[in-house]
């Protein structure tokens, strides 16, 4: 019971931390390098414990992100739902990829997410973004192995199933 609660708490805490990290600004020159944290954390959880991550959860996290970042209600909800759907669909294969292949898959997912975001923004009447716009998925993918290992290690240490 207690273990289960701790487990849930850890799960929620990582998601909340991801949303918070999304809001924390980086110094101006580093701004385009900022990875999309909620996507990375949701990806980790959809690969590791798919029984807890569903489209509904992705949608909820996305709505919370939209509410915090105040751009367009439903934008992140759309992106995260699509991302989690693809990840869950290919979960069984992604899980048993070696790390470098998994990283490439994450890169593809994040790039797809960026394309979705661009389409939404262009439809909303924004201009096409500068080239540095496309850096963020690469940074996210480069961080993926470390994030994955860190989370796995923490889970073992905290003895969370």
């Amino acid at each position: 019971m207690n273990r289960h609660r701790l487990n849930l708490l850890w799960f929620v805490a990582t998601l909340a931390a991801a949303l918070l990290l999304m809001l924390v600004p980086l110094p101006q020159p580093l701004e385009p390098f900022k990875p999309y944290w909620p996507a990375l954390v949701l990806l980790y959880w959809s690969l590791e414990s798919a029984e807890r991550v569903g489209l509904g959860l992705a949608f909820t996290v996305g709505l919370a992100g939209d509410l915090l970042d105040g751009v367009l209600l439903g934008e992140q909800a759309l992106r995260l739902t699509a991302l989690v759907f693809i990840a869950l669909r290919f979960r069984s294969r992604l899980r048993f990829f070696p790390m470098w292949q998994q990283t490439l898959a994450v890169l593809a997912l994040l790039l797809n997410d960026r394309i979705l975001l661009t389409v939404v923004r262009v439809f909303a009447g924004d201009a096409l973004p500068p080239p540095s716009w496309w850096l963020s998925p690469f940074v996210g993918a480069a961080l993926w192995p470390f994030l994955f290992l860190l989370f796995d290690d923490l889970r073992v240490r905290l003895r969370i199933p």
Binding site: A50, G54, L67, L68, G74, T81, S92, V120, A127
Partner: protein, 320 residues
């Protein structure tokens, strides 16, 4: 937290139910986006959720504050002394200029009183601090630490020490969001200081610049010209520096010249900003002047001007 009721993921084929659920959520998200884009009611939801949301902003702003504080704490003595010295020199210079201006300003005031206009050179401002929060990639927005409880209203112009920074677009109880002049959805009526030409400066679509797409072909605009707010439209008071023209060239449609300008305000580095409180006159023709009478000094005190009404149709701050 909605827990998933996902079946164990099959190795290859996905279930139809999963796809249907995806379509449902995607459709829901799209409906939300369209509604929000049309009505902008997300801000009403945010205002309602502000109790929960604002502490998050403060929390997210902490690292930026911390870095700033660390910068001060670990800055060596010499640098601080240098900075202090520089600031003192700046103050001296500014004071000297002010003193010279004071006489002129007073004279100006007197002349204007004679003309019975209600312009004033005085400023009624409120100091606000910028909260370091990232509001979406590539967005020209800033968050400040004053809100509805401090009397902030949407549409208030915001300046920093060097020029016009933008205007308040959304207000939460204790925070507010500014739209910067460099936002492509922002427009400000300007005049060229050297020639008095009136035009409109939009945020450029690429980078932190301003774009003036409708300069007449025959107009005399050069790189280096300073742009001031013209006060037309009633949103921004006249006379604040907006930017400096950097380049002039033919516009894409061939009918106008297009000028590019660098904003005067420190868009990326402002920590403290000033909210202007006296709004400019409302749009439309000025109220009929009182018929000729004794000079203002002798006449009974004039009635206060009509309250500044938000100018819905005015060019100032109108979304393109």
């Amino acid at each position: 937290m909605a827990l998933a009721r996902e079946d164990s993921s099959p190795l290859f084929a996905g279930s139809v139910a999963g796809t249907l659920r995806l379509i449902f959520y995607l459709a829901l998200a799209m409906v939300l986006m369209v509604l929000d884009h049309r009505n902008g009611w997300m801000w009403r939801a945010r205002y309602a959720a502000a109790v929960a949301v604002e502490p998050v902003y403060r929390l997210a702003g902490l690292p930026a504050d911390g870095v700033r504080a660390l910068g001060v704490a670990f800055a060596d003595r010499q640098r601080l002394t240098e900075q202090n010295q520089r600031l003192r020199e700046d103050l001296l210079l500014a004071n000297a200029k002010l003193n010279r201006m004071a006489a002129v300003a007073e004279q100006n005031e007197r002349l204007k009183e004679l003309l019975a206009t209600q312009h004033s050179l005085g400023l009624n401002v409120q100091l606000a601090r910028v909260i370091g929060v990232d509001l979406g990639a590539g967005r020209h927005r800033l968050m400040i630490n004053l809100g509805a409880r401090d009397g902030v209203k949407p549409g208030q112009p915001v300046i920093d020490a060097r020029g016009l920074l933008g205007q308040v677009v959304e207000v939460l109880p204790t925070t507010a969001v500014l739209m910067l002049v460099t936002d492509p959805n922002h427009a400000v009526p300007v005049t060229v200081e050297r020639t008095g030409l009136r035009t409109i400066a939009y945020g450029a679509r690429d980078g932190d610049q301003l774009s003036l797409p409708t300069v007449p072909m025959a107009a005399d605009v050069q790189a280096g010209d300073r742009l001031l707010t013209s006060g037309l439209g009633g949103r921004f008071p006249p006379g604040f520096p907006v930017g400096t023209v950097t380049a002039v060239g033919p516009a894409a449609n061939g009918l106008f010249l297009e000028a590019r300008a660098r904003p005067s305000a420190d868009i990326n580095r402002s920590d403290d900003v000033l909210l202007l409180h006296d709004q400019a006159e409302p749009a439309g023709p000025p109220a009929p002047a009182a018929s000729a009478g004794p000079p203002a000094g002798l006449a009974p005190a004039p009635a206060p001007g009509p309250p500044a009404a938000p100018a819905a149709g005015a060019a100032a701050g109108a979304a393109r």
